[in-house]
Each structure stands twice: as C-alpha cells, then as structure tokens.
C-alpha cells in the first residue's frame, strides 16, 4: 500500500473573512469539510487550532498565492502570516499547492475552470454534490460554498503530486460512475 493512502491532511482555502477547509485521509476518503465566516481575522487560527486538535493532520495544505495575484491583499497576507506563525510554533508542516498544479490535476478532458473543478470533485465525493453552486452569472458574487471545493482541489492536487496515476484514476472512475446521475457532464 502506498504510504500516502492513509495520510491525513487538512487543506485550507484562506480568505480574509472566510475559511474553507476539508480533511482527507488519503485521496479517496473525505473526513470533514466546511466553511467558516468570521467577523475578525484572528478567528482563522482559532478554528484551525480546533481542527488540528481533533484530526491531528500530518500536514496543512495552503494555496501558493503569487505576489501579483489579486488574492495577495494586505488582509490575506495578515491572515496567512498568522497561520504560518502558529504552524511554525507547533512545528506542523505546511505544504503549498500552486494554482497550476490544481489545474493540471483536473484538466484531463477540458479546460479546468473553478466551476468545472467543483463539479468534478462533487462527482468524486457525492456527499458534496448539494454544495455545488449553480453556474455563476457575471454580476453575481462567488458562492459561499466554493471555498470547500477550492480546498478539496488543493488536497487532491497535493495527493496527485505524490501519486498522479492513482488520483487521476480515482477522478476518472468516480466521474464516469456518477455521470448518469447528472451534474458532472457539463
């Protein structure tokens, strides 16, 4: 058995006032997921501490946000710095996953947009299907549940880096299995 199959990871999609998280045990076992909204930025770390205390992950996964990205705001940097400082203080490893790695993981058949990635992930994990937001119009804000899929994409991209064939196979098999039920074939 591959040693990554039972590795427990927490993937975080960090926004200044929101935190999307998923907990995986290997690439095929989804343990927990959720989105938390905050009034103050310091709450991010409190929530992460609680998650870490419950799930004891081997690694925390964060998105590698480029400096010229629109996400790289002062508020994001502040939250990110707090998380990294805390993780360093307890010597919990952090792994960064790039946007390119995420897109590469999900770009087997077509261009990997966020919505398409969300639908693919929902195909892999039917328990997330009801979180999939409807197609977004230009004038609409992003769905509140999208951070869950962003975090899940980070986790799957991380596992794909370790064992690309296993993750690709899992995604393709899951999606083809669930395709007749709808929602994934767009």
């Amino acid at each position: 058995m591959n040693r990554h199959e039972n590795m427990r990871v927490i993937a975080l999609d960090v926004r200044p006032r929101r935190l999307g998280y998923v907990v995986f045990e290997g690439p095929t076992r989804l343990i927990d997921w959720g989105v938390k909204r905050f009034e103050v930025e310091v709450r991010h770390v409190e929530r992460i501490v609680r998650l870490v205390a419950v799930y004891h992950p081997s690694v925390i996964l964060l998105r590698n946000v480029r400096k010229n990205s629109s996400r790289h705001t002062p508020a994001f940097r502040s939250v990110h710095r707090r998380i990294v400082n805390w993780a360093n203080s307890v010597e919990l490893p952090i792994a960064y996953v790039t946007e390119a790695a995420v897109r590469q993981t999900f770009s087997a058949s077509a261009k990997a947009t966020k919505e398409r990635i969300a639908r693919l992930i929902a195909g892999c994990f039917p328990e997330l299907a009801w979180h999939v937001p409807p197609p977004r119009k230009l004038w609409q804000s992003e769905s509140r549940s999208m951070p869950i899929f962003d975090a899940a994409a980070l986790a799957l991209a991380y596992f794909a880096k370790k064992d690309p064939m296993a993750v690709r196979k899992f995604i393709v098999e899951s999606v083809s299995f669930h395709r007749p039920l709808g929602g994934v074939a767009r």
Binding site: D32, E46, A53, V54, W86, S89, V90, E91, E127
Partner: protein
C-alpha cells in the same frame, strides 16, 4: 477524555499527561512560546495520536443529517448527547452504539476505531498475564486438563490473528 491542570474535563486532554492539546497549542501561539516544554509536549502528543476516536461525525455529514435529526433517530430528546459522542466527551451505551451501526450501516468497530484499538491492547495485555499465571500452575492434578485446554485456546487465538 481526561482532566487538565485545572481539574476540568476536556476531550483533548491526554489522561496520562494531564495536558490539553487545544489549550497548549492555542496558548503557545498566544503567548508566543516558540520553544520549550509545552511545545515539545504538544508535538509528542501530535505524533502519538493518529487514529480518530470516532467516525460518527464523518458518517453523519456524509448522510447530510444534522445532529438534531440524528438525535431524533436515536431516540434522544435534545442533540447534546450526539455532540458529546462526536467529540468523544462521552462513550455511547451499547444500545446506542448498535443504533449508530444500524443507522449508518457501518460496523461499530469502524465507527469507534480508537476504542476498539484500546480494547484490543488491554485484552492482549490481560491474556498475556493470564497465560503467565496458567503456565505457573502445576501440570499434574485434577485441573491440569482444563489448564491445558486454556493454554491451547490462547495459542490458537494468537495463530488465528
């Protein structure tokens, strides 16, 4: 669950060490303790504990049920009991554990792996003690065949695992 330094019950406290992971890690961060005994202790704890104490929350979330609905299925009035089970603040009764198995269609041992693992370790230790005691007994006399049968059963048990 254990009791921390102040005597309060806490799910993250290791009974053997009396230290609360949550308090420690948050405290370390808030107090800016970069190095020291607390951090080492926390890291040791993190390395020690790998198995989740239970998977009730995992299966509940997969089913889409909320705690109130699951409580209703279990026959509880409020949802506090389910919350306590999920956070390992209390262990369910045998009837409730079997009810979880029926609801989620997952064996009890898979729902409570840490409890099962602990039971396994305890039983193994006690069987070793029993085996030692049986081996001390005389091979002669009225109870010798029964003692031999017990030792044979212990040997067979180890072979089958």
């Amino acid at each position: 669950m254990g009791t921390d330094e102040r005597g309060t019950k806490c799910q993250y406290t290791n009974p053997a060490r009396g230290a609360c992971l949550y308090t420690l890690s948050l405290g370390c961060w808030l107090l800016g303790l970069e190095k020291g005994r607390n951090r080492t202790l926390l890291l040791m704890e993190t390395e020690d504990i790998r198995t989740l104490s239970n998977y009730i929350r995992v299966h509940r979330k997969k089913s889409g049920l909320n705690q109130h609905e699951l409580s209703m299925l279990l026959g509880y009035i409020g949802d506090g009991q389910v919350a306590r089970h999920e956070r390992s603040l209390s262990l369910p009764t045998l009837t409730t554990a079997l009810a979880y198995e029926v609801i989620f269609r997952v064996p009890v041992a898979d729902l409570f792996p840490a409890t099962r693992e602990r039971a396994q370790q305890d039983i193994d230790e006690r069987i070793q003690a029993l085996k030692g005691a049986l081996e001390q007994r005389s091979g002669k006399g009225r109870y010798a065949p029964v003692t031999a049968r017990k030792l044979e059963w212990i040997a067979m048990r180890y072979e089958s695992t």
